[in-house]
Symmetry: C2
């Protein structure tokens, strides 16, 4: 089917594609003078890319062109002006590590199959547990996302409360309920649906204006659940919430968990990085008392996507968690990638990476703000302003995408109208870059 | 902390590491004259690799040496004599695709963030659904493993049966039971534990000698479950079992599912590839009647690890599955990688890849055999032979690992003593390679 005359040698193909990757996907993608994205609508892009899969194969030069095009029309998440997500930037060591892992295709079933990466994962997990402050160690696993880590935590907490559920299921079990703040990540609710806990059995605790769980409200919810005859089994505390970057008061939540004998999970997917900073680790005070922790080095620490650890203090929860090097049994995944290697190589190269965290404002690096166009400047605070403000960010965002100059996300939140959420991760981001963002938003929105 | 004088420019570091990756992780790793693995015990390897993470950073030349070492002591799953797992071989197009994705770090939340890869995933899923034979299309998602796909299937099947469970959990729900063969992948049981279904509510249907589900036994189990007052909701059929490579009779199982109104999921993680072969697709006859399918192109089709699709026939099961391009809502994962791109680029380059499947023996490419050393040749078939045979494969495997000449797995199965399971995937594997395996096993085990 394939016209072999149009094929290079494998060596030649790889060399040529590597040159394209370095030039287009690394150098150009991270060049501040280039665009963050070259916006096309789905219909336009479908036509440009000729996506359909046919019976025949294509020449290698055609394939190289396809690589160039895929890169060209992709959003450059590594571009210095990408502030849209909870990850950003190009970190060369972890990128190289991920290339090595892609080329070698290890899968972390057993030491026999992945000797190097099994030991590296173990070393990285140990270091993370040391930073958490678990003096007697613990166990853990790298997996395909913080959402999975939260799911693992809920599963283990449930197992800890009612081990029989594993075999007999929930249908004969009492109604288990858990607690989390209104600001928590939505993966908690998704996991509750999946695990058969039920989304209504996730009791949502209000947060204060800053976004932190209100302790008295947590106590009240626990009491209310008990009085309904339900069985509380777990609290999820968030260290670094997705929208506001707030830290729940872990120490005080740990006290409440102790009193009521509840599993404490800390979702530190976003905020875990602060543990590496002497100045900021107080934000997670009390985390050593958690039963489990989720922490994604691919976010604030810039490890290549994905790099997500789930950590558990007690080694003997379940046979999911035996301590041998054969990790297959403790994972829900069967094939599983060597993601820890990215964090390991990066750490070896940079040390404990304390140079980060310039941009904790006010607490962490989520910078949430409204842009108020001149026409609204004189409106008093109130429903009319809010209603008008709500429409501003979406229009600016659309113009921003079409210009391709930068990417910053927006969203509403509670009763707050749409605001920008700018995530500042890379230590290379300068005051000029920050000024650029504000100037550009003004340029794009001043007529609104 | 880091000694910056010992750091190259980013460009220089990436260039030098790329050269190492191409030379060591691609060329040498796939060179038949090189070893498949350079075995070290965990203790030896820990010392060689100096795993500990310290506060200071290291020079770039040290980091490059670390890359070389990580590659050197890793098992070469892409080596022509790696027959140990359900994946193998180096496929250059999908490798290049995965490098591009690692460099760009797309995460498939929305079209806005990952325009190219969202459309590519959509195109690949459509093609896979076409091969399955769903004339009206359907929906799907690439995710972090066939184990997750099976879990998705069980979740959707349950939702289909009792939608209230999503909100209210299982504690008030009737006892739901599902059916799968004794030869199915263990992820089904893990998912049952996780989902709160309970491992005991997975009713295990016996398989015949070839490894295929026995239809009358399935009927009996369904009837038995009903008479116990349980609620059957799903059958998992396996197309290509993990150990024996057997295909459950899908068409007949679909009849039974229809009769009892059960969700039919086909775990075609391993055997789905046969759908691409005119000659072999009859093995999956009836798969178009499945409600959902799991299929891993990273296995038989050699796409770079991981590349796993979950497909569902009906688009409107749940709001998990809306048909817009913003896939965030239908995924349990939040950040999610662009794995479909690997399969897409490979397909574009090679066409429908019909050149595969030389090694279907007797049905699929799992070649299971005993090596009987000369000392046991004259023993009659019976318990004594079996007992002795059981100890042969582990010793040969240990010697094989220490020699590093090849890798073939072994395992017991039911009442069968340990046997080798050789997985033949790459179309480049020749008769000589097969002879080599047999000669080498004989060389390593003839004194036993
Ligand atoms: C607080 C928090 N937890 C969990 C997650 C989920 O992480 P992942 O995208 O790796 O699933 C996120 C993602 O943004 C998050 O902000
Ligand atoms: C039949 C079958 N289903 C599912 C899986 C799980 O796939 P994964 O390793 O991608 O989780 C396997 C893995 O070998 C398998 O053989």
């Amino acid at each position: 089917l394939t016209d072999n005359k149009n094929k290079f040698s494998v060596k030649e193909f790889i060399h040529q594609s590597m040159a394209i990757i370095i030039e287009d996907a690394v150098k150009k993608a991270t060049d501040v003078r280039e665009k963050v994205c070259e916006w096309r609508s789905p219909d336009q892009l479908k036509e440009l890319l000729d996506l359909e899969l046919r019976d025949g194969g294509e020449s290698d030069s055609k394939i190289l062109q396809r690589c160039r095009d895929a890169i060209r029309y992709s959003v450059k998440t590594t571009h210095p002006r990408f502030f849209n997500q909870l990850y950003a930037g190009m970190e060369p060591y972890s990128m190289v590590a991920s290339f090595i892992a892609e080329a070698l295709k290890p899968s972390l079933y057993t030491y026999e199959i992945a000797p190097v990466f099994t030991l590296i994962e173990d070393a990285v997990l140990r270091k993370m547990m040391e930073l958490i402050g678990w003096e007697e160690g613990g166990d853990g696993i790298f997996n395909a996302g913080g959402s999975m880590s939260n799911m693992y935590a809920m599963n283990l907490a449930r197992y800890n409360h009612s081990p029989d559920i594993k075999e007999f299921g929930l249908s004969a079990a009492p109604r288990l309920v858990m607690f989390t703040s209104q600001e928590c990540h939505y993966s908690v609710s998704k996991a509750a649906a999946l695990l058969g806990i039920g989304t209504k059995n996730v009791y949502v605790v209000p947060s204060d204006k800053r976004g932190k769980m209100i302790l008295s409200a947590l106590e009240n919810k626990i009491k209310a659940a008990k009085s309904e005859g339900a069985f509380p089994f777990m609290v999820n505390a968030t260290a670094g919430t997705t929208v506001l970057g707030a830290f729940d008061p872990i120490e005080e939540i740990a006290d409440i968990c102790e009193k009521h004998n509840l599993w404490l999970h800390v979702d530190a997917c976003w905020g875990g990085a602060a543990l590496m900073s002497k100045k900021h680790k107080h934000l997670l005070k009390g985390i050593h008392r958690a039963n489990s922790v989720a922490w994604n080095p691919h976010k604030m620490l810039m490890a290549c996507l994905q790099c997500c650890a789930f950590l558990v203090r007690d080694k003997t929860q379940d046979k999911f968690y035996d301590i041998s090097y054969d990790t297959g049994d403790k994972s829900l995944q069967c094939s599983r990638k060597a993601d820890a290697f990215k964090f390991w190589l990066m750490w070896k190269a940079l040390g404990s990476i304390a140079r980060h965290y310039a941009y904790f404002m006010p607490e962490f690096s989520n910078v949430c703000f409204w842009y108020i166009p001149p026409s609204l400047k004189n409106l008093p605070d109130g429903p009319e302003l809010y209603e008008k403000l709500h429409t501003v960010a979406p229009v600016i965002k659309e113009r921003m995408m079409k210009t391709g100059s930068m990417m910053v996300g927006y969203q509403p939140h509670g009763d707050k109208p749409n605001f920008f959420r700018m995530i500042v991760i890379s230590p290379q981001v300068s005051k000029q870059d920050m000024d650029f963002v504000l100037d550009e938003i003004h340029r794009l929105g001043k007529d609104l």
